[in-house]
Symmetry: C2
Subunit: 150 residues, 2 copies
C-alpha cells in the first residue's frame, strides 16, 4: 500500500472501488446509467489550482489516460469532466462518458436522480478491462486485498 | 487579431465577451448569480484528452491563472471546473466560483434555471480587474475593438 490517505465516506458509499491509477484512487460510480469514473489524487488540497505543479501534471496525465480508456471502451458521444467538490471537499475528478441516448442527455449527471445498479460481475469486468488497457499503471484493488489477506 | 476561429453562436449568446487570455477567448456568463467564467481555446478538437500536449499545457496554465483570479477576487468557498460540451461541442472550460450562500449551493450551476443579469458597468469592472490582475496575458476585447475601428 503506497497510500496513506483515506477516502471520504461519501465517496466510498457512492462508488465501487476499482483500484489505483498510479497513486490516485480509481472509483466507479454505483450508477450504471453512465460509464462514470472518479479519480481521487493523494493530496490534502481541495482545489485543483492549488496543487503543486508535479501533482497537477500527474493528475492531468491520469485524466488523459482514463478519458482515452472510456472513449475507447464505451459507445460515447462526449466526455464530461468535472471537478466540483461542493458536497465532498476531498479533491476528486469526475470522468463521465455521455451518449445522446443516455437517460439525462444533454443535462449533466450531477444532481440527476436517475439510478441503475451494476449487474453482478460488471464491476469486475470493468476491472479486467482496466488491467488490459492500462497495464503497469492501473492496479486492481482486489489484488491488493488478496496480498493483505496473506 | 491573432485568432482565426469563431465562437459558437450559443456561447456568444450566453456570455459577455471579455477578451483573450493568451490565445483563448475569455467569456463571462450572462448569469450574475455566480462569478462564472468560460475559457475557449483555439482548437478544432472537442475533447480535452484529444488536445495536443502543448495546447493542453497552455489551457491548463490558463485554467490555473483564471481560477486563482476568481479565488482572489470573489468571496468563494469552492471552485467548480467543468468541461461538458453536451450542448455546445466547441471545446470550452467553465470556471465557476461557488459560495455556500449562493442560490443553487450545493448543486451545480449547469442546468440550474435561476438567472440574474449583470448590472450596468459590472462587466467593465470585471475587465478592469482582469487587466490589473493578469497584465500582459489578458487582453481586453474592448481594446481590440477600438483598434479595429481605427
Amino acid at each position: 500500500m503506497l497510500l496513506n490517505f483515506r477516502l471520504h465516506p461519501r465517496l466510498k458509499e457512492d462508488s465501487h472501488p476499482l483500484g489505483w491509477l498510479d497513486r490516485s484512487y480509481l472509483l466507479l460510480s454505483r450508477n450504471a446509467l453512465f460509464p462514470w469514473f472518479i479519480l481521487v489524487p493523494e493530496t490534502k488540497e481541495t482545489e485543483f489550482h492549488e496543487l503543486e505543479p508535479i501533482v497537477q501534471a500527474e493528475l492531468l496525465d491520469q485524466i488523459n489516460l482514463l478519458a482515452r480508456f472510456v472513449a475507447t471502451e464505451y459507445p460515447i458521444d462526449k466526455m464530461n469532466i468535472g471537478m466540483i467538490g461542493n458536497i465532498v471537499s476531498q479533491l476528486h475528478v469526475h470522468l463521465v462518458g455521455r451518449n445522446h441516448r443516455d437517460s439525462c442527455w444533454p443535462g449533466v449527471v450531477w444532481g440527476y436522480d436517475g439510478f441503475k445498479p451494476y449487474p453482478p460481475d460488471e464491476v469486475e469486468r470493468t476491472v479486467d478491462r482496466l488491467i488490459a488497457a492500462i497495464p503497469g499503471r492501473f492496479r486492481a484493488w482486489r489484488a491488493e486485498a488478496t496480498i493483505r489477506q496473506k
